[in-house]
């Protein structure tokens, strides 16, 4: 952390110092411009828009946690720019967030009620975690109400639901086979309001900030793909932005962890990397203030931002998932080979069978011929 002194010899840190904050702020606006694919000339406009919003009421954000691990909350606190401190004090009004809020119990519930009433139709509802539906949803209750009841209660007040993390976006871990609690995603229960999915396990915090800022700056929500993921963050595959890609193209692979290839930073394709099937921003933005990302750190991508990745991308160290439903689970290639073997054996069997039948037929024909011959001979005789 840097301590900077101003003209009066005062020390300041981060955003607490206005002078630094301004510079950081413009840097941040520049980042947003890049992120949204805008030219630099937009930076003042972005800055103005944010400042205007900040001067007026900050948009109310309500963060609901259901069947979650709080990983997205933790992730949120690691945001690069704006930092969570900046966001919470200056850009948004985080009116309900169980993990961070001071009030508890009835007072917390009351804070939510007040925020909903005061911002009716304008509340940005962030949801973290899946929603259990089995047995009337008793697997997740807060203040005596089920997740399902709470989400229905909040829905009329919402502007938009932001499903953050793979659990909220797609059901995630709780929904993984055999889904003991009947967990579903936010979009499965929210019917009357738009849903934005921000999958990832956890979601990259800067994507969440990007969405909030997009809304603050442009007054509308970002463009989404078919799975309701914002294109600015999920528009490309990991594989197409990965720094190990030249090794992929060159046919240079890690065959086993910590082998020669691993020590050279070769491609992780053969140890199960799901980068070729995964849409996320990890490779380009990285994580934790740009420190690194899973593939850079030597581990194959798990595909954590993809639907049902717990079932469809496992085992994680295989490129191709297991096929279940054959009694015993098997690998695709094994079953393929079995199919080819069966086909081969089948035709060999059939060929032999046909041969035998034809031989028998021939013999029968010969016998018949002979009999005929004999018959004609005897009749002649």
């Amino acid at each position: 952390m840097q301590a900077l002194k101003d003209a009066d010899g005062r020390v300041g840190v981060g955003f607490l110092d206005d002078r630094i904050s301004r510079r950081e702020f413009l840097k941040f606006c520049g980042r947003i411009a890049v992120l949204l694919g805008l030219s630099e000339t937009f930076i003042p406009q972005i800055a103005e828009a944010i400042e205007k919003t900040v001067k007026n009421r900050r948009p109310s954000v309500i963060w609901l946690e259901f069947q979650d691990c709080a990983g997205n909350t933790e992730s949120f606190t690691r945001a690069n720019s704006p930092s969570v401190g900046q966001a919470v004090l200056e850009s948004i009004s985080l009116d309900y967030h169980e993990t961070l809020m001071a009030a508890a119990g009835h007072r917390a519930e009351k804070a939510r009620e007040i925020a909903l009433e005061e911002n009716k139709g304008k509340v940005i509802v962030v949801v973290e975690g899946s929603i259990p539906t089995k047995d009337n949803g008793v697997y997740c209750c807060i203040g005596g109400k089920t997740a399902l009841q709470i989400i229905k209660e909040v829905e009329p007040y919402a502007l938009v639901f932001v499903a953050v993390g793979t659990c909220a976006a797609f059901g995630g871990l709780p929904k993984a086979n055999p889904n003991p609690t009947g967990a579903v995603a936010v979009e499965d229960v929210v019917r009357s309001k738009p849903v934005i999915n921000v999958p990832g396990c956890p979601a990259n915090p800067d994507v969440l900030m990007g969405i909030l800022v997009h809304y603050l700056v442009f007054g509308r929500l970002p463009d989404l793909d078919a799975q309701k993921r914002p294109l600015f963050a999920y528009g490309k595959r990991i594989h197409d932005t990965c720094e190990r890609r030249p090794h992929f193209d060159a046919g240079q692979y890690v065959l086993s962890f910590d082998d020669y290839g691993a020590r050279q930073g070769y491609c992780l394709y053969k140890v199960g990397c799901k980068g070729p099937e995964t849409y996320n921003i990890c490779a380009s933005w990285r994580w934790n203030l740009g420190a690194s990302w899973p593939v850079k750190a030597g581990h194959p991508c798990l595909g954590c931002s993809e639907k049902d990745f717990w079932d469809r991308f496992t085992p994680f160290y295989e490129r191709i998932p297991l096929i279940s439903g054959f009694g015993v689970e098997g690998r695709a290639d094994q079953w393929g080979k079995v199919a080819v073997g069966l086909a081969g054996a089948g035709i060999i069997g059939h060929a032999i069978y046909t041969g035998l039948v034809r031989k028998a037929e021939k013999k029968a024909e010969e016998i018949a011929e002979q009999e005929e011959k004999q018959a004609s001979e005897s009749s002649e005789g």
């Binding site: 793909d225 078919a226 799975q227 528009g235 490309k236 595959r237 594989h239 197409d240 030249p246 090794h247 992929f248 193209d249 060159a250 046919g251 240079q252 692979y253 890690v254 065959l255 020669y260 290839g261 070769y266 394709y269 053969k270 799901k274 070729p276 099937e277 995964t278 849409y279 595909g303 993809e306 639907k307 049902d308 990745f309 469809r312 991308f313 490129r319 191709i320 998932p321 695709a332 290639d333 079953w335 393929g336 080979k337 199919a339 080819v340 086909a343 081969g344 035709i347 059939h350 060929a351 069978y353 046909t354 039948v357 034809r358 037929e361």
Partner: protein
């Protein structure tokens, strides 16, 4: 021209050599064969790279080349496939979709009869000009598999292009697979084995018809000639 142009079956019927497969059909056939073989080999390597190079990454492009070949032959396969569809409307009667698609109950009964014959080859099997009904069915299925390979393959291909055109293709393709690239990938991976099974069956059927029903020559798909019933020819 063939040495043998006529043969007589045990049943007493006479077969006459006739040009059944027009040149375009034959060209398409062998184009598809080459494409599928190249796609299967390159695809196998894409699925299971058998080695790891250690030279300077800047000087080699092994995997890139394998993928390039896969995509090149994918395009050729696409072209051949499109042309075959077209030919199914303008070609001779043996190549027509109207002949090939099993749209009548009779065709299905014929297929069933042929299957029965395969496992109980003592009944009399009629001789068919063009494909036999069962062969016909396997070819249709094979074309479906080719189509599936094309759709899944180009969906994956499109998913990595990011131009507006390819984005749209990818969106269409992905929608067919529940918007799940991984699912596409998995099924495409499995394609190799489906092809392997079909090709084995196909080759066997070819040999079988050469040996058992005498209507096909091994080189039918090269020469275009096939034995057909004299009686049937007379009908035309």
């Amino acid at each position: 021209m063939k040495a043998v142009t006529e043969k007589t079956l045990a049943s007493g019927e006479t077969l006459i050599l006739k040009k059944v497969w027009e040149l375009p059909v034959r060209i398409i056939h062998w184009t598809i064969v080459v494409c599928v073989v190249v796609l299967a080999i390159t695809g196998y390597f894409i699925g299971n790279p058998p080695f790891s190079n250690t030279q300077d990454a800047a000087t080699i492009f092994t995997f890139g080349t394998i993928r390039f070949l896969h995509f090149l032959f994918a395009y050729i396969l696409l072209a051949a496939f499109i042309f075959r569809i077209y030919w199914g409307f303008v070609g001779n009667k043996y190549a027509r979709w109207s002949t090939m698609l099993p749209l009548s109950g009779k065709k299905w009964r014929d297929i069933w009869r042929e299957i029965k014959y395969l496992f109980w080859p003592r009944t009399k099997l009629p001789v068919y000009t063009g494909h036999s009904p069962l062969a016909n069915l396997t070819y249709l299925l094979l074309y479906l598999v080719v189509l599936f390979g094309i759709v899944s393959g180009f969906t994956m291909y499109a998913a990595a292009q990011y131009t507006p055109f390819w984005r749209r293709i990818a969106a269409w393709g992905l929608a067919l697979f529940g918007n799940n690239l991984n699912q596409v990938h998995f099924l495409h991976h499995f394609l190799l084995w489906i092809f392997a099974v079909f090709v084995i069956l196909h080759l066997y059927m070819v040999v079988y018809t050469v040996v058992v029903s005498y209507t096909t020559e091994v080189d039918t798909m090269i020469s275009g000639y096939k034995f057909v019933l004299k009686s049937e020819l007379a009908e035309e």
